[in-house]
Symmetry: C2
Subunit: 364 residues, 2 copies
């Protein structure tokens, strides 16, 4: 029986939109009120299409619904595959009043959102994220984009959806590795600004790993609330929002080194958060016990705690230097002032950074 | 001796920017106050680079200035060539605080603006348009984008520049055909909402064709003022702004039919405006004498008055149907209520449209 468990509004003035979280929503919810025109183009991938495409189509009664199925994987988050969306839109003669729908994980969401941002200079889109990571990450923030061979997410746009529909049932078909990757981002929200949520997580991490529906819905809701608060305060990522990148500078370096798609984004962020906590400890911002708390929680989520075996400190430094978190050449990092309080700083002593990189690359 | 002849402000709230028009400005103006960071990437093409790149670099004292040179032509307004800009930015490690500079015509401007809209989800850019068309058209409006094999400008973004610098000297190296193509857009501003400017043009069209500097500067200024007024009233092209597309629906069909780059955009718009005037006359909105006024002015500017020889009414209808000016399948056209007053309508009788297409395709 379908039931809406949580609903929240992402408050962005005239670009505000709802996030609807529940069980059994796909195929039973009516999203047509979020579609201004008569045309809908559902973008999904070949893994998700056989599972959920038909049910997704039923969410748009009275509309002309077309679909395009992309190959599945981070390595397809590129221009050539993005262009399949434009091809489909133009071949089906979708006008500038069309609405795109992203049905899938973060890659589908990022690409569909970017296609919507660019098609005829901008059309609306709706998100139906089907992975835990995309439910707690890409559903809030309006970040869209594709990768470039020289860097992740280097080409993109800020583009807000009309609505986000999250069906926790879609997580039942998700591989366990991807559940863990999603939990990495959930833990992140606790670490950066919600010590109560972190305490709740320490008590419920096993329920999350086991995919208990109410635990999932609660974790997704609290994560979205946390991210929505941060994004509402800083929509264009000028300041505060950068704390959402906890673990991401190290993580992006790991992903790029490993080759897109070999490490899951959330796995790299999990390891990256331990590295950021390690550096925070060397900087005297948190103590050894707090560092261990972070590490233990990430390990309990089933996430890796060390970078790829053959990765060196030099690899990290080279790959972190092109990361977009840099401003005019200064390496800015998100560190933990406390467990539950992240800060952005460009003041970390390079000796401490070197020590962290050496420590993790020596696999101690 | 450098002299600023006109200056205007495009009023878009916190995205307002100046357009500076004059002689001898390239190489003598200091634009560094419009650059927030330390990095500048000048994007130009292989025709313009030997003429103006060094002088453009001198406009950014104290900044790190890199450049990327694209092949020249509308047929290169595609993703592969756009990617050369991203390659250059990433290879030179430009951060999200970089500023892009478009030095060239409309293609360079559209591509550089779109690259700026997408690089790391948006960086600032400055326009230095070097063709008459781009000076009077692309410098105002924030439209950026690239072509898709199935349609012109189908992929793009709205992105406003920090400033526009127009040096009329750069028109002295422009081929006469391109001068005429630019004059087509100048005439358009008179036709759509400025009957006084149209009268001025009838007295000064030969001076424009002869590239007299003061005449050029005046025509550019008045064109930019007209477009800026329209854009300020309707930044995202919801309503009024559509009148700027006078001649463009027919024109885009001609350009697409001929293959990008074989007809200049302004040439196609020139013919398209005569066709729009013809249809307006058939609709009883203007009289035969006014139609002849339009036709005569466009011919005096050295522009073609007929579509490609082998183009049929069916070609027009097919190509106009995917034009982005359509809303939910209805063909919207910009017609002349009077000379100096354009309107957008989807009410033109299809019989009259057919008659216009047949008339022009039979080359009468």
């Amino acid at each position: 029986m379908p039931r809406v468990l949580h609903q929240l509004k992402v408050d962005l003035g005239d670009r505000s939109y709802p996030i609807i979280i529940g069980q059994g929503l796909l195929g039973t919810s009516d999203l047509s009120s979020y579609v201004a025109g008569s045309q809908v183009m559902i973008v999904t991938n070949e893994t998700i299409a056989p599972l959920y495409l038909e049910r997704a189509k039923e969410c748009f009664p009275g509309k002309t619904v077309d679909s395009v199925v992309l190959p599945d994987g981070e390595r397809y988050k590129n221009w050539e595959v993005l262009n399949l969306i434009f091809d489909a839109l133009l071949e089906k003669r979708h006008t500038r009043k069309t609405t795109l729908v992203a049905l899938g994980g973060g890659v589908v969401g990022d690409m569909t959102g970017f296609a919507a941002a660019c098609y005829q200079r901008g059309v609306p889109f709706i998100q139906i994220p089907t992975t835990l990571l995309s439910q707690v990450d890409s559903s809030v923030g309006g970040k869209t984009g594709i990768n470039h061979p020289l860097g992740k997410n280097m080409i993109g746009a800020f583009h807000q959806p009309e609505a986000v529909l999250i069906d926790t049932d879609s997580l039942l078909t998700l591989p366990p590795r991807e559940v863990s990757a999603g939990i990495a981002e959930v833990i992140k929200y606790g670490l950066i600004r919600d010590v109560d949520f972190l305490a709740w997580l320490e008590g419920n991490i096993d329920g999350l790993v086991d995919r208990q529906p109410e635990v999932l819905a609660e974790a997704i809701y609290r994560s979205c609330v946390c991210k929505a608060e941060v994004v509402a305060l800083d929509e264009r990522e000028g300041g505060l929002r950068a704390i959402l990148n906890l673990g991401h500078t190290f993580g992006h370096a790991i992903e790029t080194f490993a080759g897109y798609g070999n490490w899951l984004h959330g796995e790299a962020v999990g390891t990256g958060m331990i590295m950021a906590a390690d550096l925070s400890e060397r900087e005297g911002m948190i103590n050894a016990e707090q560092l261990e708390t972070v590490r233990a929680l990430i390990l309990r989520a089933g996430l890796p705690a060390l970078p790829p075996q053959n990765m060196t400190p030099e690899d990290f430094l080279n790959l972190m230097a092109v990361d977009k978190k840099n401003v005019d050449g200064q390496l800015r990092l998100v560190l933990l002032q406390a467990v539950g309080n992240a800060v952005v700083t460009s003041k970390a002593a390079s000796g401490n950074l070197d020590a962290t990189l050496t420590h993790f690359c020596q696999r101690q």
